[in-house]
Protein backbone atom coordinates (compact mmCIF):
# COMPACT_ATOMS: atom_id res chain seq x y z
CA UNK A 1 0.00 0.00 0.00
CA UNK A 2 1.55 3.25 -1.13
CA UNK A 3 -0.85 5.85 0.21
CA UNK A 4 -4.24 6.51 1.91
CA UNK A 5 -3.54 3.76 4.41
CA UNK A 6 -4.94 1.87 6.14
CA UNK A 7 -8.45 2.44 4.77
CA UNK A 8 -7.50 3.06 1.15
CA UNK A 9 -9.78 4.65 -1.42
CA UNK A 10 -9.10 2.80 -4.66
CA UNK A 11 -6.89 0.24 -6.35
CA UNK A 12 -4.50 3.02 -7.27
CA UNK A 13 -3.38 3.05 -3.64
CA UNK A 14 -1.82 -0.38 -3.84
CA UNK A 15 0.84 -2.30 -5.71
CA UNK A 16 0.83 -6.04 -6.06
CA UNK A 17 4.47 -6.77 -5.32
CA UNK A 18 4.48 -10.49 -4.50
CA UNK A 19 7.36 -10.57 -2.06
CA UNK A 20 7.91 -12.58 1.09
CA UNK A 21 10.54 -11.97 3.75
CA UNK A 22 11.63 -14.40 6.43
CA UNK A 23 14.27 -13.95 9.08
CA UNK A 24 15.11 -14.58 12.71
CA UNK A 25 16.41 -11.01 12.90
CA UNK A 26 13.40 -8.72 13.12
CA UNK A 27 15.41 -5.56 12.45
CA UNK A 28 17.09 -7.06 9.41
CA UNK A 29 13.83 -8.23 7.91
CA UNK A 30 12.25 -4.79 8.35
CA UNK A 31 15.31 -3.17 6.81
CA UNK A 32 15.05 -5.48 3.80
CA UNK A 33 11.33 -4.83 3.49
CA UNK A 34 11.85 -1.05 3.64
CA UNK A 35 14.37 -1.28 0.83
CA UNK A 36 11.96 -3.40 -1.14
CA UNK A 37 9.10 -0.93 -0.54
CA UNK A 38 11.41 1.91 -1.60
CA UNK A 39 11.06 0.64 -5.16
CA UNK A 40 7.31 1.30 -5.16
CA UNK A 41 7.38 4.58 -3.28
CA UNK A 42 10.28 6.56 -1.94
CA UNK A 43 11.02 5.39 1.58
CA UNK A 44 14.63 5.94 2.77
CA UNK A 45 15.77 4.01 5.83
CA UNK A 46 16.11 7.27 7.82
CA UNK A 47 12.38 7.89 7.52
CA UNK A 48 11.71 4.58 9.25
CA UNK A 49 13.38 5.84 12.40
CA UNK A 50 12.60 2.88 14.61
CA UNK A 51 15.08 0.74 12.66
CA UNK A 52 18.12 2.69 13.83
CA UNK A 53 16.74 2.90 17.33
CA UNK A 54 16.22 -0.87 17.43
CA UNK A 55 19.75 -1.47 16.17
CA UNK A 56 21.25 0.78 18.84
CA UNK A 57 19.30 -1.19 21.44
CA UNK A 58 20.83 -4.35 19.96
CA UNK A 59 17.52 -5.88 18.98
CA UNK A 60 18.98 -6.77 15.63
CA UNK A 61 21.14 -5.58 12.76
CA UNK A 62 20.52 -3.20 9.86
CA UNK A 63 23.70 -4.24 8.12
CA UNK A 64 22.36 -6.56 5.49
CA UNK A 65 25.74 -7.01 3.76
CA UNK A 66 27.12 -8.87 6.74
CA UNK A 67 24.22 -11.28 6.86
CA UNK A 68 23.79 -14.45 4.91
CA UNK A 69 20.75 -13.75 2.71
CA UNK A 70 19.15 -16.14 0.32
CA UNK A 71 17.23 -14.37 -2.45
CA UNK A 72 14.90 -16.66 -4.35
CA UNK A 73 13.04 -15.56 -7.47
CA UNK A 74 10.13 -17.64 -8.69
Amino acid sequence: MKTSGPRGKSEADVVLSKGLFMSQDIVAVDTAATNFFNQAREMPLERVSYLAKAQSMKVGSMNLDKLKIKKIKM
Partner: protein, 503 residues
Protein backbone atom coordinates in the same frame (compact mmCIF):
# COMPACT_ATOMS: atom_id res chain seq x y z
CA UNK B 1 -59.94 -26.36 11.49
CA UNK B 2 -60.09 -22.87 9.95
CA UNK B 3 -59.16 -21.43 13.32
CA UNK B 4 -56.13 -23.70 13.54
CA UNK B 5 -54.97 -22.62 10.08
CA UNK B 6 -55.46 -18.99 11.08
CA UNK B 7 -53.43 -19.47 14.27
CA UNK B 8 -50.66 -21.28 12.41
CA UNK B 9 -50.38 -18.46 9.85
CA UNK B 10 -50.59 -15.77 12.52
CA UNK B 11 -47.83 -17.28 14.61
CA UNK B 12 -45.68 -17.88 11.57
CA UNK B 13 -45.91 -14.24 10.42
CA UNK B 14 -45.63 -12.88 13.95
CA UNK B 15 -42.62 -14.96 14.94
CA UNK B 16 -40.76 -14.38 11.67
CA UNK B 17 -41.32 -10.61 11.66
CA UNK B 18 -40.30 -10.34 15.31
CA UNK B 19 -37.21 -12.48 14.80
CA UNK B 20 -36.27 -10.40 11.77
CA UNK B 21 -36.20 -7.36 14.05
CA UNK B 22 -34.33 -9.29 16.75
CA UNK B 23 -31.66 -10.85 14.61
CA UNK B 24 -28.35 -9.07 15.17
CA UNK B 25 -26.04 -11.85 14.02
CA UNK B 26 -27.31 -12.00 10.44
CA UNK B 27 -28.56 -15.58 10.47
CA UNK B 28 -31.88 -14.54 8.94
CA UNK B 29 -31.50 -13.81 5.21
CA UNK B 30 -32.36 -10.24 4.25
CA UNK B 31 -35.05 -11.63 1.91
CA UNK B 32 -37.32 -11.95 4.95
CA UNK B 33 -37.95 -8.23 4.51
CA UNK B 34 -40.74 -9.28 2.19
CA UNK B 35 -42.81 -9.90 5.34
CA UNK B 36 -42.60 -6.22 6.18
CA UNK B 37 -43.11 -5.10 2.60
CA UNK B 38 -46.52 -6.77 2.41
CA UNK B 39 -47.72 -4.80 5.42
CA UNK B 40 -50.53 -2.55 4.24
CA UNK B 41 -49.26 0.97 4.93
CA UNK B 42 -45.65 0.23 3.93
CA UNK B 43 -46.92 -1.28 0.65
CA UNK B 44 -49.10 1.79 0.10
CA UNK B 45 -46.28 4.25 0.79
CA UNK B 46 -43.79 2.33 -1.32
CA UNK B 47 -46.38 2.15 -4.12
CA UNK B 48 -45.73 -1.56 -4.05
CA UNK B 49 -48.41 -2.50 -6.58
CA UNK B 50 -47.91 -6.26 -6.26
CA UNK B 51 -48.18 -6.13 -2.48
CA UNK B 52 -51.29 -3.94 -2.59
CA UNK B 53 -53.05 -6.12 -5.13
CA UNK B 54 -52.23 -9.16 -3.02
CA UNK B 55 -53.63 -7.53 0.13
CA UNK B 56 -56.77 -6.13 -1.50
CA UNK B 57 -57.50 -9.38 -3.33
CA UNK B 58 -57.08 -11.53 -0.22
CA UNK B 59 -59.40 -9.16 1.62
CA UNK B 60 -62.00 -9.20 -1.16
CA UNK B 61 -61.89 -12.99 -1.31
CA UNK B 62 -61.16 -14.23 2.19
CA UNK B 63 -62.01 -11.19 4.29
CA UNK B 64 -59.81 -9.33 6.73
CA UNK B 65 -57.19 -12.06 7.06
CA UNK B 66 -54.55 -9.32 6.94
CA UNK B 67 -55.78 -8.12 10.32
CA UNK B 68 -55.92 -11.55 11.86
CA UNK B 69 -52.71 -13.07 10.51
CA UNK B 70 -50.35 -10.80 8.60
CA UNK B 71 -50.43 -7.72 10.84
CA UNK B 72 -48.10 -8.28 13.81
CA UNK B 73 -50.03 -5.78 15.93
CA UNK B 74 -53.20 -7.80 15.39
CA UNK B 75 -51.48 -10.98 16.51
CA UNK B 76 -50.00 -9.17 19.50
CA UNK B 77 -53.53 -8.24 20.60
CA UNK B 78 -54.70 -11.82 20.13
CA UNK B 79 -51.86 -13.04 22.31
CA UNK B 80 -52.75 -10.55 25.03
CA UNK B 81 -56.41 -11.55 24.78
CA UNK B 82 -55.43 -15.21 25.01
CA UNK B 83 -53.50 -14.58 28.21
CA UNK B 84 -56.38 -12.57 29.56
CA UNK B 85 -58.63 -15.56 28.95
CA UNK B 86 -56.19 -17.90 30.73
CA UNK B 87 -56.19 -15.47 33.60
CA UNK B 88 -59.95 -15.19 33.83
CA UNK B 89 -61.66 -18.33 32.59
CA UNK B 90 -65.10 -16.79 32.72
CA UNK B 91 -64.13 -13.85 30.55
CA UNK B 92 -66.84 -12.94 28.05
CA UNK B 93 -67.00 -10.55 25.16
CA UNK B 94 -70.25 -8.81 24.36
CA UNK B 95 -71.61 -7.31 21.21
CA UNK B 96 -71.08 -3.58 21.04
CA UNK B 97 -72.20 -0.97 18.61
CA UNK B 98 -69.77 0.04 15.90
CA UNK B 99 -67.78 3.22 16.45
CA UNK B 100 -68.24 4.09 12.80
CA UNK B 101 -67.88 7.85 13.11
CA UNK B 102 -64.76 7.64 15.28
CA UNK B 103 -63.21 5.19 12.85
CA UNK B 104 -63.85 7.28 9.77
CA UNK B 105 -62.88 10.54 11.43
CA UNK B 106 -59.57 8.97 12.50
CA UNK B 107 -58.98 7.68 9.00
CA UNK B 108 -59.84 11.03 7.41
CA UNK B 109 -57.64 12.94 9.86
CA UNK B 110 -54.74 10.57 9.18
CA UNK B 111 -55.24 10.80 5.43
CA UNK B 112 -55.60 14.57 5.21
CA UNK B 113 -52.71 15.23 7.56
CA UNK B 114 -50.62 12.90 5.42
CA UNK B 115 -51.64 14.70 2.24
CA UNK B 116 -50.65 17.99 3.85
CA UNK B 117 -47.20 16.60 4.53
CA UNK B 118 -47.77 15.77 8.18
CA UNK B 119 -46.86 12.10 8.21
CA UNK B 120 -46.52 11.79 11.99
CA UNK B 121 -50.13 10.62 12.42
CA UNK B 122 -49.72 7.79 9.91
CA UNK B 123 -46.49 6.76 11.60
CA UNK B 124 -48.10 6.81 15.01
CA UNK B 125 -51.23 4.83 14.12
CA UNK B 126 -49.97 2.42 11.48
CA UNK B 127 -50.13 -0.94 13.27
CA UNK B 128 -46.97 -2.32 11.67
CA UNK B 129 -44.94 0.78 12.47
CA UNK B 130 -46.23 0.85 16.03
CA UNK B 131 -45.40 -2.81 16.46
CA UNK B 132 -41.93 -2.22 14.98
CA UNK B 133 -41.29 0.41 17.62
CA UNK B 134 -42.49 -1.95 20.35
CA UNK B 135 -40.03 -4.58 19.16
CA UNK B 136 -37.13 -2.17 18.66
CA UNK B 137 -37.44 -0.36 21.95
CA UNK B 138 -38.96 -2.94 24.31
CA UNK B 139 -38.68 -6.55 23.13
CA UNK B 140 -35.32 -6.32 21.39
CA UNK B 141 -33.41 -5.02 24.41
CA UNK B 142 -34.94 -7.91 26.39
CA UNK B 143 -33.83 -10.34 23.68
CA UNK B 144 -30.30 -8.91 23.75
CA UNK B 145 -30.27 -9.16 27.52
CA UNK B 146 -31.24 -12.82 27.23
CA UNK B 147 -28.43 -13.32 24.74
CA UNK B 148 -25.94 -11.74 27.13
CA UNK B 149 -27.12 -13.90 30.01
CA UNK B 150 -26.76 -17.02 27.86
CA UNK B 151 -23.30 -15.83 26.88
CA UNK B 152 -22.36 -15.47 30.55
CA UNK B 153 -23.55 -18.98 31.33
CA UNK B 154 -22.07 -20.67 28.25
CA UNK B 155 -18.76 -18.85 28.43
CA UNK B 156 -18.30 -19.92 32.02
CA UNK B 157 -18.46 -23.50 30.71
CA UNK B 158 -15.94 -22.66 28.00
CA UNK B 159 -18.56 -22.69 25.27
CA UNK B 160 -18.32 -19.69 22.97
CA UNK B 161 -21.52 -20.03 20.95
CA UNK B 162 -22.78 -16.64 22.15
CA UNK B 163 -21.15 -13.26 22.35
CA UNK B 164 -21.91 -10.12 24.31
CA UNK B 165 -23.78 -7.28 22.64
CA UNK B 166 -24.31 -3.80 23.99
CA UNK B 167 -27.76 -2.71 25.05
CA UNK B 168 -28.64 0.96 25.24
CA UNK B 169 -31.61 3.24 24.94
CA UNK B 170 -31.80 4.73 21.46
CA UNK B 171 -34.33 7.40 22.16
CA UNK B 172 -36.27 8.14 25.29
CA UNK B 173 -39.21 9.55 23.39
CA UNK B 174 -39.59 6.60 21.05
CA UNK B 175 -39.22 4.18 23.94
CA UNK B 176 -41.95 6.06 25.76
CA UNK B 177 -44.25 5.98 22.74
CA UNK B 178 -43.50 2.27 22.32
CA UNK B 179 -44.29 1.67 25.98
CA UNK B 180 -47.55 3.65 25.75
CA UNK B 181 -48.51 1.69 22.62
CA UNK B 182 -47.62 -1.58 24.30
CA UNK B 183 -49.58 -0.79 27.45
CA UNK B 184 -52.44 1.08 25.77
CA UNK B 185 -53.22 -1.39 23.02
CA UNK B 186 -52.36 -4.23 25.41
CA UNK B 187 -54.88 -2.98 27.99
CA UNK B 188 -57.59 -2.58 25.35
CA UNK B 189 -56.85 -6.08 24.06
CA UNK B 190 -56.89 -7.50 27.59
CA UNK B 191 -60.34 -6.04 28.24
CA UNK B 192 -62.09 -6.10 24.89
CA UNK B 193 -59.99 -7.87 22.30
CA UNK B 194 -59.65 -6.05 19.01
CA UNK B 195 -60.70 -2.58 20.13
CA UNK B 196 -57.72 -0.83 18.55
CA UNK B 197 -58.29 -2.48 15.17
CA UNK B 198 -61.90 -1.41 15.11
CA UNK B 199 -61.60 2.13 16.38
CA UNK B 200 -58.29 3.82 15.67
CA UNK B 201 -56.42 1.68 13.19
CA UNK B 202 -56.56 3.30 9.74
CA UNK B 203 -55.82 -0.04 8.08
CA UNK B 204 -58.58 -1.71 10.08
CA UNK B 205 -61.09 0.88 8.90
CA UNK B 206 -60.02 0.57 5.26
CA UNK B 207 -59.97 -3.21 5.19
CA UNK B 208 -63.14 -3.33 7.29
CA UNK B 209 -64.85 -1.36 4.56
CA UNK B 210 -63.54 -3.77 1.89
CA UNK B 211 -64.54 -6.71 4.07
CA UNK B 212 -68.21 -5.82 3.56
CA UNK B 213 -67.75 -6.84 -0.06
CA UNK B 214 -65.68 -9.95 0.59
CA UNK B 215 -66.58 -13.10 -1.29
CA UNK B 216 -66.35 -15.40 1.72
CA UNK B 217 -68.01 -14.37 4.94
CA UNK B 218 -69.01 -15.76 8.29
CA UNK B 219 -72.74 -16.36 8.39
CA UNK B 220 -75.43 -17.67 10.72
CA UNK B 221 -76.97 -20.96 9.69
CA UNK B 222 -80.74 -21.30 9.48
CA UNK B 223 -80.87 -23.63 12.45
CA UNK B 224 -79.21 -21.18 14.84
CA UNK B 225 -80.97 -21.08 18.18
CA UNK B 226 -79.36 -17.78 19.17
CA UNK B 227 -77.63 -19.14 22.24
CA UNK B 228 -75.05 -16.34 21.94
CA UNK B 229 -71.97 -18.44 22.53
CA UNK B 230 -70.33 -17.08 19.38
CA UNK B 231 -70.92 -13.51 20.47
CA UNK B 232 -69.43 -14.16 23.89
CA UNK B 233 -66.28 -15.44 22.21
CA UNK B 234 -65.98 -12.75 19.56
CA UNK B 235 -62.98 -10.57 20.28
CA UNK B 236 -64.11 -8.05 17.69
CA UNK B 237 -67.50 -7.76 19.48
CA UNK B 238 -69.14 -7.78 16.09
CA UNK B 239 -71.73 -10.57 16.40
CA UNK B 240 -75.24 -9.34 17.10
CA UNK B 241 -77.05 -12.55 18.05
CA UNK B 242 -80.39 -10.94 18.74
CA UNK B 243 -80.70 -9.81 15.14
CA UNK B 244 -78.54 -12.63 13.76
CA UNK B 245 -76.24 -10.08 12.23
CA UNK B 246 -72.50 -9.77 11.93
CA UNK B 247 -70.84 -6.38 11.50
CA UNK B 248 -68.41 -7.26 8.73
CA UNK B 249 -66.61 -3.95 9.01
CA UNK B 250 -65.26 -5.23 12.31
CA UNK B 251 -65.01 -8.98 11.77
CA UNK B 252 -61.35 -9.97 11.45
CA UNK B 253 -62.04 -13.56 10.37
CA UNK B 254 -60.46 -15.18 13.39
CA UNK B 255 -62.95 -18.07 13.11
CA UNK B 256 -63.22 -18.38 16.90
CA UNK B 257 -67.02 -18.36 16.55
CA UNK B 258 -66.98 -21.41 14.28
CA UNK B 259 -65.00 -23.36 16.83
CA UNK B 260 -67.25 -22.59 19.79
CA UNK B 261 -70.61 -23.16 18.11
CA UNK B 262 -72.02 -26.45 19.45
CA UNK B 263 -74.38 -26.86 16.53
CA UNK B 264 -72.08 -25.94 13.63
CA UNK B 265 -74.44 -23.13 12.78
CA UNK B 266 -71.70 -20.58 12.15
CA UNK B 267 -70.46 -20.97 8.62
CA UNK B 268 -67.77 -19.45 6.45
CA UNK B 269 -69.36 -19.41 3.00
CA UNK B 270 -70.05 -17.35 -0.10
CA UNK B 271 -71.51 -13.97 0.60
CA UNK B 272 -74.35 -14.18 -1.92
CA UNK B 273 -76.09 -16.60 0.42
CA UNK B 274 -76.46 -13.69 2.77
CA UNK B 275 -79.58 -11.58 3.11
CA UNK B 276 -78.85 -7.97 2.31
CA UNK B 277 -79.19 -5.80 5.35
CA UNK B 278 -76.51 -3.68 6.79
CA UNK B 279 -76.76 -0.83 9.13
CA UNK B 280 -74.34 1.42 10.86
CA UNK B 281 -74.59 3.01 14.23
CA UNK B 282 -73.69 6.60 14.71
CA UNK B 283 -72.36 7.14 18.15
CA UNK B 284 -68.97 8.40 19.13
CA UNK B 285 -67.36 7.73 22.43
CA UNK B 286 -66.33 11.29 23.18
CA UNK B 287 -64.59 10.48 26.45
CA UNK B 288 -62.25 8.01 24.76
CA UNK B 289 -61.36 10.54 22.11
CA UNK B 290 -60.66 13.19 24.71
CA UNK B 291 -58.51 10.73 26.62
CA UNK B 292 -56.47 9.84 23.58
CA UNK B 293 -55.96 13.47 22.54
CA UNK B 294 -54.94 14.39 26.06
CA UNK B 295 -52.56 11.43 26.18
CA UNK B 296 -50.91 12.43 22.92
CA UNK B 297 -50.57 16.09 23.89
CA UNK B 298 -49.17 15.46 27.37
CA UNK B 299 -46.75 12.81 26.24
CA UNK B 300 -45.36 15.04 23.51
CA UNK B 301 -45.19 18.19 25.63
CA UNK B 302 -43.89 16.45 28.74
CA UNK B 303 -40.93 14.81 27.09
CA UNK B 304 -40.10 17.95 25.18
CA UNK B 305 -39.68 19.79 28.47
CA UNK B 306 -37.50 17.05 29.91
CA UNK B 307 -35.34 16.81 26.83
CA UNK B 308 -34.18 20.42 26.86
CA UNK B 309 -30.45 20.19 27.14
CA UNK B 310 -28.38 22.20 29.52
CA UNK B 311 -25.89 24.27 27.55
CA UNK B 312 -22.24 23.43 28.15
CA UNK B 313 -19.83 26.35 28.46
CA UNK B 314 -17.32 25.68 25.69
CA UNK B 315 -16.52 27.74 22.66
CA UNK B 316 -16.41 25.22 19.89
CA UNK B 317 -19.46 23.17 20.63
CA UNK B 318 -20.75 21.40 17.56
CA UNK B 319 -24.30 22.08 16.57
CA UNK B 320 -25.49 20.27 13.51
CA UNK B 321 -27.77 22.50 11.46
CA UNK B 322 -29.51 19.60 9.76
CA UNK B 323 -29.90 15.95 10.71
CA UNK B 324 -28.36 13.34 8.43
CA UNK B 325 -31.08 11.36 6.71
CA UNK B 326 -30.11 7.68 6.20
CA UNK B 327 -28.67 6.44 2.90
CA UNK B 328 -31.28 6.14 0.17
CA UNK B 329 -33.41 8.89 1.70
CA UNK B 330 -32.63 11.04 -1.37
CA UNK B 331 -33.97 14.11 0.39
CA UNK B 332 -35.22 14.87 3.86
CA UNK B 333 -38.57 15.86 2.39
CA UNK B 334 -39.12 12.63 0.48
CA UNK B 335 -37.86 10.60 3.42
CA UNK B 336 -40.19 12.32 5.85
CA UNK B 337 -43.19 11.79 3.60
CA UNK B 338 -42.72 8.04 3.48
CA UNK B 339 -41.19 7.00 6.78
CA UNK B 340 -43.63 5.56 9.33
CA UNK B 341 -40.95 5.07 11.99
CA UNK B 342 -41.17 1.29 12.20
CA UNK B 343 -37.46 1.36 13.16
CA UNK B 344 -36.66 -1.80 11.23
CA UNK B 345 -33.57 -0.02 9.85
CA UNK B 346 -32.65 1.03 13.39
CA UNK B 347 -32.84 -2.59 14.54
CA UNK B 348 -31.00 -3.97 11.52
CA UNK B 349 -28.12 -1.47 11.12
CA UNK B 350 -24.99 -3.52 11.84
CA UNK B 351 -22.96 -0.40 12.59
CA UNK B 352 -25.47 1.07 15.06
CA UNK B 353 -25.57 4.45 13.34
CA UNK B 354 -29.35 4.88 13.18
CA UNK B 355 -31.51 6.20 15.96
CA UNK B 356 -34.94 7.81 16.15
CA UNK B 357 -34.91 11.59 15.96
CA UNK B 358 -36.40 13.77 18.61
CA UNK B 359 -36.80 17.29 17.26
CA UNK B 360 -33.99 17.27 14.70
CA UNK B 361 -36.39 16.95 11.78
CA UNK B 362 -38.94 19.14 13.51
CA UNK B 363 -42.13 17.99 15.23
CA UNK B 364 -43.38 16.11 12.19
CA UNK B 365 -40.26 13.97 12.07
CA UNK B 366 -40.33 12.92 15.66
CA UNK B 367 -39.23 9.25 15.86
CA UNK B 368 -38.05 9.10 12.23
CA UNK B 369 -34.53 7.69 12.10
CA UNK B 370 -31.43 9.79 11.56
CA UNK B 371 -27.76 8.91 11.24
CA UNK B 372 -25.52 9.58 14.23
CA UNK B 373 -21.95 8.56 14.93
CA UNK B 374 -21.72 7.96 18.68
CA UNK B 375 -21.62 4.18 18.41
CA UNK B 376 -20.01 3.67 15.04
CA UNK B 377 -19.87 4.95 11.49
CA UNK B 378 -21.75 4.04 8.35
CA UNK B 379 -20.02 1.14 6.62
CA UNK B 380 -18.96 2.26 3.13
CA UNK B 381 -20.03 -1.04 1.51
CA UNK B 382 -23.22 -1.67 3.51
CA UNK B 383 -26.68 -1.09 1.99
CA UNK B 384 -28.79 -3.04 4.47
CA UNK B 385 -31.08 -0.22 5.65
CA UNK B 386 -32.02 0.63 2.08
CA UNK B 387 -32.81 -3.03 1.40
CA UNK B 388 -35.05 -3.64 4.39
CA UNK B 389 -37.04 -0.37 4.36
CA UNK B 390 -40.62 -1.48 3.60
CA UNK B 391 -42.09 1.92 2.75
CA UNK B 392 -39.64 3.21 0.18
CA UNK B 393 -38.57 6.01 2.52
CA UNK B 394 -35.12 4.64 1.87
CA UNK B 395 -34.74 3.84 -1.80
CA UNK B 396 -32.74 0.70 -2.35
CA UNK B 397 -29.14 1.47 -3.29
CA UNK B 398 -26.57 -0.81 -4.82
CA UNK B 399 -23.08 -0.80 -3.39
CA UNK B 400 -21.88 1.26 -6.35
CA UNK B 401 -24.71 3.79 -5.90
CA UNK B 402 -23.99 4.06 -2.21
CA UNK B 403 -20.33 4.79 -2.92
CA UNK B 404 -21.32 7.97 -4.76
CA UNK B 405 -24.22 8.92 -2.48
CA UNK B 406 -23.49 11.97 -0.38
CA UNK B 407 -25.72 12.00 2.71
CA UNK B 408 -23.73 14.64 4.56
CA UNK B 409 -20.71 16.88 4.30
CA UNK B 410 -17.62 16.87 6.47
CA UNK B 411 -16.89 19.93 8.63
CA UNK B 412 -13.50 20.46 10.26
CA UNK B 413 -13.12 22.54 13.41
CA UNK B 414 -9.41 23.29 13.72
CA UNK B 415 -9.69 24.78 17.21
CA UNK B 416 -10.90 21.44 18.57
CA UNK B 417 -8.27 19.36 16.77
CA UNK B 418 -5.63 17.75 18.99
CA UNK B 419 -2.92 18.43 16.38
CA UNK B 420 -3.66 22.15 16.77
CA UNK B 421 -4.32 22.14 20.49
CA UNK B 422 -1.58 19.79 21.75
CA UNK B 423 0.73 19.73 18.70
CA UNK B 424 0.64 15.98 18.69
CA UNK B 425 0.47 13.56 15.78
CA UNK B 426 -2.94 12.33 14.76
CA UNK B 427 -4.74 11.79 11.47
CA UNK B 428 -7.23 9.14 12.57
CA UNK B 429 -9.94 10.94 10.58
CA UNK B 430 -7.98 10.68 7.34
CA UNK B 431 -7.09 7.06 8.02
CA UNK B 432 -10.79 6.19 8.26
CA UNK B 433 -11.93 8.20 5.26
CA UNK B 434 -13.01 5.90 2.40
CA UNK B 435 -12.62 8.61 -0.26
CA UNK B 436 -9.81 10.74 1.18
CA UNK B 437 -12.20 13.66 1.50
CA UNK B 438 -10.18 14.16 4.68
CA UNK B 439 -6.45 14.20 3.99
CA UNK B 440 -3.36 15.29 5.85
CA UNK B 441 -1.36 18.35 4.85
CA UNK B 442 2.03 19.53 6.25
CA UNK B 443 1.78 21.53 9.44
CA UNK B 444 4.53 22.53 11.87
CA UNK B 445 7.74 20.56 11.33
CA UNK B 446 7.00 16.86 10.97
CA UNK B 447 3.38 17.34 11.95
CA UNK B 448 0.51 17.00 9.54
CA UNK B 449 -2.97 18.40 10.05
CA UNK B 450 -6.31 17.39 8.48
CA UNK B 451 -7.78 19.19 5.53
CA UNK B 452 -11.06 18.46 3.80
CA UNK B 453 -12.59 18.28 0.37
CA UNK B 454 -16.36 18.27 0.81
CA UNK B 455 -16.91 17.54 -2.88
CA UNK B 456 -15.96 13.90 -2.43
CA UNK B 457 -17.32 13.34 1.08
CA UNK B 458 -19.96 10.61 1.35
CA UNK B 459 -20.84 11.56 4.92
CA UNK B 460 -20.12 8.14 6.40
CA UNK B 461 -18.94 9.66 9.67
CA UNK B 462 -15.78 7.56 9.97
CA UNK B 463 -13.86 10.73 10.80
CA UNK B 464 -16.40 11.97 13.33
CA UNK B 465 -16.60 8.62 15.10
CA UNK B 466 -12.84 8.14 15.53
CA UNK B 467 -11.93 11.75 16.28
CA UNK B 468 -10.34 11.62 19.76
CA UNK B 469 -10.98 15.29 20.59
CA UNK B 470 -12.97 15.83 23.76
CA UNK B 471 -15.49 17.06 24.77
CA UNK B 472 -16.22 18.28 21.25
CA UNK B 473 -15.15 16.54 18.08
CA UNK B 474 -12.84 18.39 15.73
CA UNK B 475 -14.53 16.89 12.70
CA UNK B 476 -18.14 16.06 12.09
CA UNK B 477 -20.68 15.47 9.35
CA UNK B 478 -23.35 18.03 8.62
CA UNK B 479 -26.66 16.82 7.18
CA UNK B 480 -28.04 17.74 3.78
CA UNK B 481 -31.53 18.70 2.67
CA UNK B 482 -31.02 16.78 -0.55
CA UNK B 483 -28.52 13.99 -0.96
CA UNK B 484 -26.04 14.45 -3.78
CA UNK B 485 -24.57 12.08 -6.28
CA UNK B 486 -20.81 12.45 -6.29
CA UNK B 487 -18.54 12.34 -9.28
CA UNK B 488 -15.11 10.89 -8.78
CA UNK B 489 -12.29 11.31 -11.19
CA UNK B 490 -11.25 7.89 -12.28
CA UNK B 491 -7.81 7.29 -10.91
CA UNK B 492 -5.30 5.75 -13.18
CA UNK B 493 -3.74 2.73 -11.66
CA UNK B 494 -0.04 3.32 -11.81
CA UNK B 495 1.80 0.30 -13.10
CA UNK B 496 4.69 -0.33 -10.79
CA UNK B 497 6.68 -3.37 -11.67
CA UNK B 498 9.00 -4.63 -9.00
CA UNK B 499 11.55 -7.01 -10.37
CA UNK B 500 14.42 -6.36 -8.07
CA UNK B 501 14.91 -7.03 -4.39
CA UNK B 502 15.94 -3.48 -3.60
CA UNK B 503 18.79 -4.51 -1.34
Amino acid sequence: MLKKIRIAFSLLFFVLITLFFFDFAGWMPVQFHVLTKIQFIPALLALNVGGLIFLILTTLILGRVYCSSICPMGVYQDIVAWFSKRFNKRKKYTFSKAKTVLRWITLIVVLTSFLFGFSFAVGLLDPYGAYGRMVTHLFRPAYLLGNNLLDNIFTSFDNHTFYQVSIYSLSLFSTLIALLTFLGIGALAWRNGRTYCNTLCPVGTTLGFLNKYALLKLQFGDGCGQCGKCSRNCKASCIDVKNKKIDYSRCVNCFDCIGVCDFSEMKYTYAFKLKKSEQSDKKIDQSKRRFITALAVTSVAGTKIFAQKFPLPKKHQIKKQLPIAPPGAKSIEKFQDKCISCHLCVSKCPSHVLKPAFNEYGFNGIMQPLVYFDKGFCNYDCTLCTEVCPTGALTELTKEEKHVNQMGKVQYVKENCIVYEYETQCGACSEHCPTQAVFMIPYKGELTIPSTNTNICVGCGGCEYVCPAKPYKAIYVEGLKVHNTLKFRKEKKEEVKIDDFGF
